[in-house]
Amino acid sequence: MTGPVFLFVLAVLTVVLAPLVGGLLFGLDRKLTARLQGRVGPPLVQPFYDVLKLWHKEKIAVNRLHLVWAWAYLVLVIASLLLLVWQQDLLLLVFTLGFAAIALVMGSFSVRSPYSHFGGQRELMQLLAYEPVLLLTAVAVYFRTGTFLVSGILQQDRPLLFSLPLVFAALVIILTIKMRKSPFDLAACEHAHQELVRGIYTEYSGPYLALIQVAHWYELVLVLALIGLFWAHPWWAGVLLAVAAFFAELVVDNSTARVTWPVMLRLVWASCLTLVLANLAALYLIV
């Protein structure tokens, strides 16, 4: 079942369904956050209203290059997700996702806007914080399964979580960055508009902001799927795991305050690298 037709159908399904799931998750996020704060909150489908509205706003722009990178970001995130559903190389997936982040940063630097540059620099810090952890996660998975291919990883019967609990913990920590949640929502937080306006997104508006929003939906699905990979059989266990991680992020988001970038780097590198390397060392020594 890996003929080109099957892969194509799978790709189409992913491209269509992932944003639906991602958008709903974003809606759920806002709803639950509101509930946690004792508010009613917006409807579940609010993200779809937002994007639809943005898509039909007047197109304004600073320059062409700036817009090009928004497209690049979307396409690269989708590509990363496709690499996952096509069960490709995990390292390559991380590289492609890294390229997507670079595209976003390039976009933010393509305009002479102080807020956008601010966001870009901070996004780079975030990249610096999570990229090694993502790569190490891939390596750890290799240590455990002997392959970087997702197809091979899925053939494992025993959940990865059992032998890679610390790696999983590290992944959950950087999930906070990837989901742009407090305390690591440095680059583009809408709550930080006093200091940042909207960081990297400041100069994007209307349809292009919608593109980025949709890209975030895909990205959310992707990172949650990566979480789910840690308990791939039966499939619903993975889903539960991802959902649990998602809720954990919401709680963290609502109970912490944004930190500065040096604190973030120190926290993430110290905690995640220790966790992952300890897990790797344990695997190496025990196996």
Partner: protein
């Protein structure tokens, strides 16, 4: 109402600009975001960036110094966009009427769609104003 109009009505992002209010009205606007009034249930977000905003909420009277900034911000907002003047000052100049540096209400500088009077305007009034603005948006589309 078409889908796009629905989306517009359901997702008004506001940008709050203080022209020089006494801060009375500003506090009331912030009050709208608190759990008590929770305007986010209408999809309203205080976005603080004209390029993302649908509704420009202005408090305080327009004066000679900030008229240029007000106009700049207005021009940076993509269509369709609305302007709400919140508080008596923003509506007409209020207590500052005829002060030497005051131009008058916000509508002396940019077109205003909804006036919310009151000194300060109450959160309920502000929310009413938003609803009115959204009706205009729905009607206009």
């Amino acid at each position: 109402m078409g889908l796009v109009t629905t989306a517009r009505v359901k997702s008004p992002w506001i940008m709050h600009f203080d022209c020089g209010s006494c801060n009375g009205c500003d506090i009331e606007i912030l009050a709208c975001l608190t759990p008590l009034y929770d305007v986010e249930r209408f999809g309203i977000i205080n976005i603080g960036n004209p390029k993302h905003a649908d509704v420009l909420v202005v408090t305080g009277a327009a004066n000679r110094r900030n008229a240029r900034v007000l106009r700049n911000l207005y021009e940076q907002m993509p269509e369709p966009k609305l302007v709400m003047a919140v508080g008596t000052c923003a509506c007409s100049g209020g207590v500052f009427h005829q002060c030497p540096n005051i131009l008058g209400g916000v509508d002396k500088v940019i077109p205003v769609n909804v006036y919310v009077p009151g000194c300060a305007a109450r959160p309920e009034a502000i929310i009413d104003g938003v609803v009115l603005a959204l009706q205009k948006l729905a009607g206009a589309a």
